[in-house]
Subunit: 222 residues, 2 copies
């Protein structure tokens, strides 16, 4: 800590979007739709996790997925055919979604007849954490190859998430990743965070995530 | 492409920062300092790659490293003791660095007696690609576990980088990652991109990256 300086660079001021987010949640409550905001780094396995999770939930719930991306449609194409409604949202270069963008997405999806809407946010551990999308709950994925130090480096993301999926546990033998240590770091920021180790590729742990979504949906739509 | 809609969401307008970037490059030229901007997702191995690269270059060059992060100092602590000057930049939540922030960092580092300055940008494949930092060259790391589809999903990042390091090639047997396919996708966006497969952990390929930096530094400082 002695050999280098820490320089505080000024950040730009974002518009306050909290009012929009609260208004959207009120609408979702009225529509009896549970909205989950799923976040992670690029390549952590959001889309594969969603595919497996939809398969576990689709017989019981009407599900809609919003795939947010800069400008590709790789993810929506992957979700198509899973039994969920899907829409690709292009953010035009934006690194996150805010509540108004999410509202546009839900409108495009037609949320009025959905039990569960899932927003796959842009792959990014920074900006999406700063904007309330109007979601009922936030979940994030951290994959084993990314390293167990991520709660130290992206604390806000771990603080605002209700559920942390630790993905790619099949490759634990090939990486220095300590699940216990990572969980401790996450819980230090967020004592109530639900932590679920999964392997989206094999489906391991997906039933636990699906059970969490079911319980949260029941709590929301009553 | 038929089963879902693509909705274009409006992006906010960023301030034009190109003039600041050009001014910074002119200053770097005068100071005979080569500035490299290194970008990647969280957990791709930027810091480990830098440590190994500094070891390969430090006997020949005076090197300074700017570690940009939201608010931790994990990375600067890791670089300390490598023989490079290091400064931790806190972005106060910002997801990228622009030219003026980079200038502040260089000032903090004291760039006037450096041959090579390296900016480790915030872990993010989106926003850092949109802001010219004033760097002479841009490099990025894509790690094998992130997937070979990333050029399709983050095209701007691959377009603006002069050098692409494909890291963690030691775990290729455990992931579906096709280096040839990934390289083709990157070259479709950026035909002149230099692609170097590496394993930062074992040091494989680092000498090729160091040789690229040497050649680019020589071309810049003459």
């Amino acid at each position: 800590m002695d050999g280098y300086r820490i320089l505080e660079i000024k950040r730009s001021v974002f518009e306050n979007n909290d009012k929009d987010a609260d208004r959207l949640r009120q609408q979702l409550k009225k529509d009896r739709t549970f909205l989950l905001n799923l976040m992670s780094s690029p390549g952590s396995g959001k889309t594969t996790t969603l595919k497996k999770t939809i398969a576990a939930l689709k017989d019981e719930y009407r599900i809609g997925v919003m795939e947010a991306d800069i400008d590709s449609d790789v993810d929506a194409a992957a979700i198509e055919g899973t039994g969920a409604k899907v829409i690709q949202l292009h953010t035009g270069g934006m690194c996150h979604l805010d509540a108004d963008m999410t509202r546009q997405g839900l409108e495009g999806l037609g949320d009025e007849d959905l039990d569960i809407a899932i927003l796959e946010n842009v792959g990014n551990l920074v900006c999406p954490a700063e904007f309330d999308t109007g979601s009922v709950k936030n979940a994030m994925i951290l994959s084993v190859p990314e390293g167990d130090d991520k709660p130290l480096k992206y604390p806000l993301m771990f603080t605002i998430c209700d559920c942390l999926l630790i993905n790619k546990i099949d490759v634990l033998p090939y990486f220095d990743f300590d699940i216990e240590e990572c969980s401790k770091r996450a819980r230090r920021l967020n004592p109530n965070i639900k932590i679920i180790p999964i392997c989206a590729k094999t489906g391991e742990g997906i039933s636990d995530f699906a059970a969490w979504i079911k319980a949260e949906t029941a709590a929301w739509i009553g």
